[in-house]
Symmetry: C2
Subunit: 412 residues, 2 copies
């Protein structure tokens, strides 16, 4: 009788286990004393705990009614609140075009699942958030990267690639992208809409950061700019993760009813619904006005941190780095000047107690080491003093790395 672990025949996309690059850095970024610029984690000190306790207290008398099986698409009250919030962003939609999802990520995953199967093609900005890459890959579809830069996704490249490869789905972050920090202009958003209608792919805008603008002119979500011809080809996913709480997992999707209804079917055979209790807390939080009071507070706090990281990078590292200050969101995409590879620098940085995410981990093919000199730095988790300290430590790490000093940290 053999007790050896068998070789399971996993589905193709799960043949190898996947550990996202950000998660693999967590043991280092959590070390006491270390300045973490690595995760896209809101600062817990800024969570509106009082507002959420208040919202929770308001649902408690009704708790018995919130414990039963419920609508897959979400609570009618929360759907109404998010139709309103979407409207404030310029998006008009009906109840049968919106559904509640477990974060924006889950909206992307559901859209991917109902559209894509092995043999199909999807496009994603490259570099992009690794979990988004995985959500597309797990369908078994071929995932191609469209180059993206300081102005967001390259629309000419997209046009050419779409004509050639016929994608069914194209995912972009148009406002304050992850990792690039880029914002797509209104003109370019209109161009994206034209391309979606012309090539007949579903253009999915992932908008987790849209409310976190610190400078520059607001640009509406892509869906808000759609005309009758392009609207059937656009979907929008967003979340309260960055503004209310990541772990409450309240996101939503706006998509053409035919597509949204399939996503409801997919969710019905999956998690069956978001927890109703949490949905109703979110409804109370949105409806009671606390959400709209809170967002400007975190916008102000994160805006100041964005300035602080900008100034520290410019002041301390000067011409050793190049970057474009983002207009919002959570991330700087910083390139090391000279010949220092960001992956090689990392153990020195960890030793000096500062952690960032090296650029290659955000590329569809991390092994290609495109952008080996890039680093993603989050400026939202820690305060201004910590950001400055982090950049000073990074300067020491660069010196040690340039000097070829011995380093005790090994990342295996």
């Amino acid at each position: 009788m053999s007790t050896a672990t068998p070789n399971y025949a996993f589905a193709g996309p799960f043949a190898q286990p996947y550990i996202p690059p950000i998660r693999s850095l967590a043991p280092y970024s959590r070390r006491p004393g270390t300045v973490s610029l690595s995760g896209g984690y809101p600062d817990p000190a800024l969570f509106d705990v009082e507002g959420l306790r208040e919202a929770s207290a308001r649902v408690m008398p009704e708790l018995r009614g919130l414990l039963q099986y419920a609508n897959v698409e979400g609570q009618a009250s929360l759907i109404a609140a998010l139709i309103k919030l979407s409207g404030e962003r310029g998006i008009d939609c009906k109840a049968d075009e919106l559904m509640i999802t477990s974060g924006a990520q889950h909206g992307l995953a559901l859209l991917a699942r109902v559209l894509l199967q092995p043999g199909d093609t999807a496009f994603l900005e490259d570099p992009a958030f690794p979990n988004t890459q995985q959500a597309l890959r797990y369908t078994g579809a071929s995932v191609h990267g469209v180059p993206t830069g300081p102005e967001g996704v390259d629309v000419d490249a997209l046009d050419e690639m779409a004509a050639r490869l016929k994608p069914k789905m194209v995912c972009v972050v148009a406002s304050f992208s992850n990792p690039g920090g880029a914002t797509v202009s209104r003109a370019r958003r209109l161009r994206l809409l034209q391309l979606a209608a012309r090539h007949r792919f579903l253009l999915v805008e992932d908008d987790p950061y849209g409310e976190l603008r610190y400078s520059g002119e607001p640009v509406p979500p892509i869906l808000a700019l759609a005309d009758a011809e392009s609207r059937p080809w656009v979907a929008y996913v967003s979340t309260l993760s960055k503004t209310m709480s990541p772990s409450m997992r309240v996101g939503w999707m706006v998509a053409p009813a035919q597509i949204r209804n399939r996503c409801v079917s997919a969710k019905g055979a999956d998690d069956m619904a978001n927890p109703v209790w949490i949905q109703e807390v979110a409804t109370q939080y949105l409806g009671g006005g606390r959400y709209h009071e809170h967002v400007p507070r975190i916008r102000a706090a994160y805006g100041a941190r964005c300035d602080a990281l900008n100034d520290a990078l410019a002041g301390v590292l000067g011409n050793r780095v190049t970057f474009v200050k983002p207009e919002g969101g959570m991330f700087f995409w910083v390139r090391l000047a000279g010949d220092i590879d960001a992956t090689r620098l990392l153990p020195y940085a960890i030793e000096k107690e500062v952690v960032y995410v090296p650029g290659p981990g955000f590329y569809l093919d991390p092994a290609s080491h495109v952008d080996g000199f890039a680093m993603r730095m989050s400026f939202v988790t820690v305060d201004e003093a910590q950001l400055r300290l982090g950049v000073q430590r990074l300067a020491s790490a660069i010196e040690a790395c340039e000097a070829g000093a011995p380093v005790s940290v090994s990342l295996g």
Copy 2:
């Protein structure tokens, strides 16, 4: 410029929208005055609202710490509590074999996703819960039904079919199946383990009802009976939905670490984690002892209802129906004697204000109208008096149907 809705190229399993048969009956079962025997919905009057309020109050002081991004696999505290609960059921497992899922359904869906792709084969008992059918089908795999009856899945048929069709995954409900109400004996469970090891398929036991036994001898979960040879080929999914609350969506999976780790990857690119707030309420509810006080209460209440439905069916309908009284769970699988088709009877029943689910909806091919004379009746949502009333109304419906009386309800 055309505004016509385009024909989207959905992934194969989503070509047609799917509405589960139970959901399509919801408008009728929710009518005031109607006795609903249709949904597998716990009685809200029995939810332990006080216990959950108490658990919630205990997490409130720690709320700030529960709002951040968290482990995909679930909170360590809840994992520990569910390792303990699984242990009480006879299942020994380590932390790297268990993960939190959004209900048992989500565990099935994750296992299906990491194992199955188009071209693969999966087996499911037939009849079975429609959402489970969909979770398997949505992978694009071929799903075959293994006949199941009053003693559960037919192991000889399974053996023959597995040799021929080489499934990668086989799903069963061994305790108080849905819709059949059947319990699989210990001897047959051991046979299932042998077949899993011999044919090298993952045997997945879906156990939402195991704690709801009202009569007969307890039988351990299949995983608890595994030996060294079969253990790598068994997974277990369960949930607190039937005992604590459906809408809190707290389930868990126990599976070989290699498989469980892929399911964690799949969840990471999907809902990313169950809401931490709810996970911690569940931890408090389990750890504070309220859960273990509450389960015997609902077991007693549902046991009395099981008796009441049994007696009403026997007393009121007598030889017009045949059924086996289930030892636990939520459902009677009742066959109409004579030539009354359960689907034809339904409009009469709705008119008389009682709703059940006709049998064909639980078959992989509902159009085949296998078991056209069968009905699933849930006995947990309403109390004994309502159950008796429901059966009396069913008797009137049968008379009207037999008499070929006109009926005002049309199910389209």
